[in-house]
C-alpha cells in the first residue's frame, strides 16, 4: 500500500499525519473485520484467512452429513403447508375460480398480487448474478448461489397463479403457438401473451444460469463422495426418527454411493480443466450480458399487463421502471430475510457471508426503496398534474384518503414499509446490524405484497359507474393458496440448503487473495505485475467471472 494516494486526506492518514474521523472504521474493520472504510484497504471477502480446503469443507459439509433434527422438523412443517397449498390448487381446478373471492368488478385480486409479488422476488438472484457480475462486484460471489436458488423457487411460486387463475387449466396449452384444429393462433399483440414468453424465458434462463454456475461445485461434491468411498468412509442411509435412534436402511447403497452417482450425473463429468474454464467463463459472461436486459424486461413486461390498459391507476408510463425498481427492492429484501437466519444458525457461514455483504445489500435496499418512493410520489404528482379527474380520484378516493378510501390502510402500510422503514439505513450502526436489517427486510417483503395489492385491487374495485363498485374480500381458499405458495417456496429453499452447494465455491476461491497468480494480493510488487501482465498476452480477453 503506497503512501501516494490520489486523495490527499487518505494519503496523509496512511502516512500517519492525520487521525481518522470520529466514526471511521479503521483497518481492524468493525465487528467481524469486514467493515473497513479505508479506500486504500480492500475489505476481505472471506474472513479468518481461510484456506481453499476450509472453504470447501464449510460449504460441502452441510450437504454431506445426515439431515439434522431441526431441519427435519422445519421441512415437515413447511411441506405440510405446501401440501395444503397444493390441495387448494386442486380444489380450485376441480371446482372453478369461484372458490376465490373475485367478483364482477374485482376480477384480479390475490392471484395476480401473488404472481407479481413472487416474480418480483425472483429478480434479485439474476440481478446479483448478472448485473453485479458485469459491474465486477466481487462480493456477489458470497450470495449469488442462494439468491439464484431463491429466484428459481420464487418463479415456481409465481408461475402457479397465472396458470390456475385462467379457469379451465386444461386449455393452458393454447397460450403457446401450437397449431390446433380451430386454425387460430394466439394474439401476439396482447401483453398477456408477452408475459407468457417473458416469464417462461426468464424461468428457463435463470435455471440454466444457476445450473451452469453449480456444475463445478457439484463436481466437488462428487469427488469428495468418491474419495470417501475409496477411503472406506461410507455412511449408511438411515430413516430419521423423531425420537430415539434412526433406523438404518438395509439393502440400499451407502450415502456416499448415492451422492457420487447423483452429483456425478449432474456435474456432467466436469474436470476443472483450464481449457474448459476458458469457455466456461466466456459462456458465463455472455449469459450475464443477456440476462441483464432480460431481468429488466421481465418486470417491464409484467407491468405492461397493467400499463397498456385504459384503467385509471394502471394506465401510466412510469410502470416499467417503477416495477423493475420494486422487484429489485423486494428481491433483495427476501435474500436478506432468508440469509440472515442461515448465517446465524450455520457455523462457518459468517466467514463467507460477512457484515460487509449485509451492509452492501442494506445500501441497495435503501437506494431501491427511495426509487420506489420516488415512483409513488411521481405517480401521485402526475395524477394531479395530468388533470385527469378519474386518475386523481383513484389516488385520493380509492387509495390515500382515510375518510374516502376503504383501502387506505393498505396504501399507508405500503408507504410505511417500503418508503419509511428502509430510511433507518442512513445510520451506519443500523445498516451494520443483522437484526435491524432482518426486521426491515421483513417489513419490505410485507410492503411489497401490499404494493401489488394496492395497484391491482384499489384500481379495480371502483369503476366509472358507482353502481359497479364492489369491495374485495378474500375467501379461505385465497388465503390458504397464498400461504401454501409460501410453504412451497420454503420447502424448496430448505432442500437447497441441505443438498446443494449454498456458496459458489469455485467463484469464492477465485476471489480469495491466494488465488492471485501474481503473488497473492499482499506485497504486490510492480515489476512482477508488469511482467505477469505482459506475459498474459491475451489477458484482456480473459473473461473474468470473479476478478
Amino acid at each position: 500500500m503506497s503512501s501516494i494516494h490520489p486523495d490527499q486526506i487518505t494519503a496523509e492518514r496512511l502516512a500517519g499525519l492525520r487521525d481518522a474521523p470520529g466514526d471511521y472504521v479503521g483497518p481492524a474493520g468493525g465487528a467481524d473485520g469486514s467493515l473497513i472504510e479505508d479506500p486504500a484497504v480492500r475489505a476481505p471477502l472471506v474472513l479468518n484467512d481461510r484456506s481453499f480446503a476450509e472453504v470447501t469443507e464449510t460449504v460441502c459439509s452441510y450437504a454431506e452429513c445426515g439431515p439434522p433434527k431441526a431441519w427435519l422438523g422445519l421441512i415437515t412443517i413447511t411441506s405440510l403447508i405446501a401440501a395444503v397449498g397444493t390441495g387448494m390448487i386442486l380444489y380450485l381446478i376441480i371446482t372453478g375460480v369461484g372458490v376465490w373471492g373475485l367478483n364482477n368488478q374485482v376480477d384480479w385480486a390475490w392471484d395476480i398480487t401473488n404472481f407479481v409479488f413472487w416474480i418480483g422476488i425472483g429478480h434479485a438472484g439474476t440481478l446479483i448474478s448478472a448485473i453485479l457480475c458485469l459491474l465486477k462486484q466481487k462480493w456477489r460471489t458470497a450470495v449469488n448461489r442462494s439468491a439464484e436458488a431463491m429466484t428459481i423457487f420464487a418463479v415456481v411460486c409465481a408461475g402457479i397463479f397465472p396458470g390456475i387463475h385462467v379457469g379451465r387449466v386444461w386449455f393452458a396449452w393454447m397460450l403457446f403457438p401450437i397449431p390446433n384444429s380451430n386454425g387460430i393462433w394466439p394474439n401476439f399483440r396482447s401483453p398477456l401473451l408477452w408475459d407468457v414468453f417473458a416469464v417462461s424465458t426468464y424461468a428457463t434462463v435463470s435455471l440454466l444460469f444457476w445450473y451452469m454456475g453449480m456444475i463445478p461445485d457439484l463436481a466437488t461434491l462428487r469427488d469428495r463422495a468418491h474419495l470417501r468411498m475409496l477411503q472406506g468412509r461410507e455412511r449408511r442411509l438411515t430413516l430419521p426418527m423423531p425420537v430415539g435412534k434412526d433406523i438404518v436402511l438395509p439393502f440400499v447403497p451407502s450415502a456416499e454411493r448415492v451422492a457420487a452417482y447423483i452429483y456425478g450425473f449432474l456435474a456432467l463429468g466436469w474436470r476443472f480443466s483450464s481449457r474448459h474454464w476458458h469457455r466456461y467463463e466466456a459462456a458465463y459472461l455472455i449469459l450475464a450480458g443477456i440476462s441483464t436486459p432480460l431481468v429488466l424486461s421481465v418486470h417491464s413486461i409484467v407491468s405492461f399487463d397493467f400499463a397498456t390498459s385504459i384503467l385509471p391507476g394502471w394506465h401510466t408510463t412510469i410502470f416499467p421502471p417503477y416495477f423493475v425498481a420494486g422487484a429489485v427492492f423486494g428481491g433483495f429484501a427476501m435474500v436478506l430475510f432468508l440469509l440472515i437466519p442461515c448465517r446465524q444458525v450455520m457455523p462457518g457461514f459468517k466467514d463467507l457471508l460477512t457484515l460487509r455483504h449485509l451492509e452492501n445489500m442494506a445500501k441497495i435496499l435503501l437506494l431501491t426503496g427511495m426509487m420506489v418512493g420516488f415512483a409513488y410520489s411521481m405517480e401521485f404528482f402526475i395524477a394531479w398534474y395530468g388533470g385527469n379527474e378519474f386518475e386523481w380520484s383513484v389516488f385520493i378516493n380509492n387509495r390515500a384518503n382515510p375518510a374516502e378510501a376503504p383501502y387506505w390502510w393498505a396504501y399507508w402500510t405500503m408507504i410505511g414499509c417500503n418508503v419509511l422503514s428502509p430510511q433507518i439505513f442512513w445510520f451506519r450502526k443500523l445498516r451494520q446490524n443483522p437484526l435491524a436489517i432482518w426486521i426491515v427486510a421483513g417489513f419490505v417483503t410485507v410492503g411489497m405484497w401490499f404494493e401489488r395489492f394496492v395497484i391491482i385491487v384499489t384500481s379495480l374495485h371502483r369503476a366509472f359507474l358507482p353502481g359497479e363498485w364492489h369491495m374485495f374480500f378474500p375467501t379461505w381458499v385465497d388465503i390458504l393458496t397464498f400461504v401454501g405458495s409460501c410453504g412451497i417456496f420454503a420447502t424448496l429453499f430448505l432442500l437447497f440448503l441441505k443438498y446443494l452447494p449454498v456458496f459458489a465455491m469455485a467463484e469464492l476461491k477465485a476471489v480469495m487473495p491466494q488465488a492471485d497468480p501474481h503473488g497473492g494480493g499482499h506485497g504486490h510488487d510492480p515489476v512482477a505485475s508488469v511482467a505477469g501482465g505482459a506475459s498474459a498476452g491475451g489477458a484482456s480477453a480473459s473473461k473474468g467471472v470473479g476478478p
Binding site: W185, F188, S274
Partner: protein
C-alpha cells in the same frame, strides 16, 4: 460372443477410422498410457510452469485448477473460443424465428382485428422477439460450452488418480497427454520436475 464391445469391433473392421490408433506408449502393466500428471504448490508456480509447457511446444496438455486462474489463457496459449460467435448467430436466429412466427400467425395465416390496430405493425412484436432471441442465445451458450468442452463425459482416465480427485478442492495439477506429438515419458517427466512439479504420477487409460 455377442456383446456391445464385440459388435462395435465388428463394425470398426469395416470402418477403419473408428479404430483408435495403436498406443504409442504402454505402461508396465500393459495398459495404454493416458499421460503424466504433476502437482504444483500455488497459482503462481502453475502459471510459470504453464508458460514452460507452452514454450516447449506441447499441444495436448492442460492445467487443472479448482477455480479459473486469472490470465491462464495467455500463460497456456489458449486461443479465444468461438463461443461468442455462436451466441451471436443464435441471437440472430432467435430474433428472425420469432419475427417469422409472429408475422406468419398474426398477419398472414389468420388475421384478426384487435382494437382496430394493424396486423402487420412491428411494435407489438418486439417483446416476444427479444425474449426468443435471449432464450436461444442462452441455450447456445451453455450447450455450446459443453459441446466444445467434450462434455458430458462422465468418465475420464484422470479420475482414476486419487490425487486428481482433490483438484476440485485445492490442488493444482498439470497433465500432459501421451497423445501429444512432443510426449516422451522421460523428457516430459523431467520437464514436469524442472518446472516445480511434485508427486508426479503416470495415468493409465484402461479402456
Amino acid at each position: 460372443m455377442i456383446s456391445p464391445a464385440n459388435i462395435l469391433a465388428d463394425i470398426a473392421d469395416y470402418m477403419p477410422f473408428m479404430k483408435r490408433p495403436a498406443p504409442r506408449f504402454i505402461s508396465e502393466s500393459g495398459n495404454r498410457i493416458y499421460g503424466i500428471v504433476a502437482e504444483y504448490a500455488d497459482p503462481h508456480a502453475v502459471t510459470v510452469a504453464a508458460e514452460q509447457f507452452r514454450d516447449a511446444g506441447y499441444t495436448r496438455w492442460d492445467v487443472y485448477s479448482p477455480f479459473p486462474i486469472h490470465g491462464m489463457e495467455g500463460h497456456m496459449g489458449i486461443k479465444r473460443t468461438i463461443l461468442p460467435v455462436a451466441a451471436f448467430g443464435a441471437a440472430v436466429t432467435g430474433v428472425l424465428a420469432a419475427l417469422a412466427l409472429q408475422y406468419f400467425t398474426n398477419d398472414i395465416d389468420y388475421q384478426f382485428v384487435v382494437q382496430g390496430k394493424p396486423t402487420n405493425a412491428w411494435e407489438p412484436f418486439i417483446p416476444v422477439t427479444f425474449e426468443l432471441g435471449v432464450l436461444l442465445t442462452a441455450f447456445t451458450c451453455i450447450g455450446g460450452m459443453l459441446m466444445l468442452n467434450g462434455l458430458p463425459r462422465w468418465n475420464h482416465p484422470l479420475f482414476s488418480s486419487e490425487r486428481f480427485l482433490k483438484v476440485s478442492d485445492d490442488r493444482l495439477i498439470i497433465a500432459v497427454e501421451a497423445a501429444d506429438a512432443n510426449f516422451d515419458p522421460d523428457a516430459t517427466r523431467r520437464l514436469l520436475e524442472e518446472s516445480g512439479g511434485t508427486n508426479i504420477e503416470l495415468i493409465e487409460d484402461d479402456d
